[in-house]
């Protein structure tokens, strides 16, 4: 059976909607002593999975960029294109949900001194540059090489973003999972896990669908040039 990316994306979207419902109605509330805005904390069930999905997309962007740069493989370029779009969408979602939480909890949506916030924002801006740049530049080896170089070097920010709150905790909360200091309630952990699985399925579905779309676009360009040549 051939699994279409679109089907996976819809499955992931359904899981993300379930996460929203569970996060709002089933997950326990946090202590009013620990949080200034306990209601807003529930955005965590989307914020963390969207950050996770963005990191997967940036990882795929790195692989696509690297393989294109050294092997000139067409599938790798399609992976680069699809994962930059997926990274942009999930990165924006993570930044947006973080700003909403920050406005409620900290009283400000952004902190320009926080390493985690700023490195993640730069990663999202990098994917915006790749998406917009590809649409405004003619396709060719030089263009692909330039964008791939950005995709490869930009990946340096992924591990920096991951360790940022472990090394320099400024405003963004520290890790609550995959750490010895974690203290996440088991029901909260279940909702977060459902969210993480759903966003993983969503991002894989979107990258698969995006790769197929890029293939169709290339095929269409090829047919159009053949049609123009034959019409002369």
């Amino acid at each position: 059976m051939k699994i279409r990316g679109e089907a996976l994306a819809i499955l992931g979207l359904a899981g993300a909607s379930l996460t929203f419902w569970l996060g709002m109605s089933w997950a326990p509330s946090v202590s009013i002593d620990a949080f200034k805005a306990p209601d807003a904390q529930r955005i965590f069930y989307w914020h963390v999975p969207s950050a996770w999905a963005a990191m997967i997309a940036f990882g795929m962007l790195f692989v696509g960029s690297l393989v294109w740069f050294f092997k000139r493989s067409e599938w790798a370029w399609r992976l680069h294109v699809a994962s930059s779009e997926a990274g942009l969408a999930t990165g924006l979602m993570c930044v947006w949900s973080g700003c909403i939480w920050g406005a409620a909890e900290w009283g400000v949506p952004w902190d320009w001194t926080d390493i985690r916030l700023n490195t993640f924002a730069i990663l999202t801006l990098l994917s915006l540059y790749l998406v917009l740049g590809r649409r405004s530049q003619p396709d060719g080896i030089e263009t692909r090489d330039t964008f791939s170089a950005f995709g490869m070097y930009g990946f340096v920010l992924v591990p920096v973003t991951y360790i940022a709150t472990r090394l320099w905790q400024i405003r963004h909360p520290g890790p609550v999972v995959a750490t010895s200091e974690g203290s996440l309630n088991s029901d909260m952990g279940t909702v977060l896990l459902i969210g993480a699985i759903s966003f993983t399925v969503l991002i894989i579905g979107h990258v698969m669908a995006g790769m197929r779309l890029t293939k169709l676009e290339m095929h269409l360009e090829d047919l159009q040039s053949r049609f123009e040549e034959e019409s002369r």
């Binding site: 929203f20 955005i43 969408a89 409620a104 979107h206 049609f227």
Partner: protein, 49 residues
């Protein structure tokens, strides 16, 4: 607007954005397939002529 209502509005906005993104993938795919089919048909006709 209470905190809970504000949060639901924010969540629904994000679900809407994700749905729109998924829908545009479907729409782009359908449009491209239709264009490819019509061009292939046109090219096939020219070749047979």
């Amino acid at each position: 607007m209470s905190g809970q209502t504000y949060l639901i509005a924010a969540y629904l906005g994000m679900i809407g954005a994700l749905s729109l993104w998924t829908w545009t993938v479907f729409a782009r795919s359908k449009t491209l397939e239709a264009k490819i089919a019509s061009l292939e048909k046109a090219l096939g006709k020219e070749e047979s002529e």
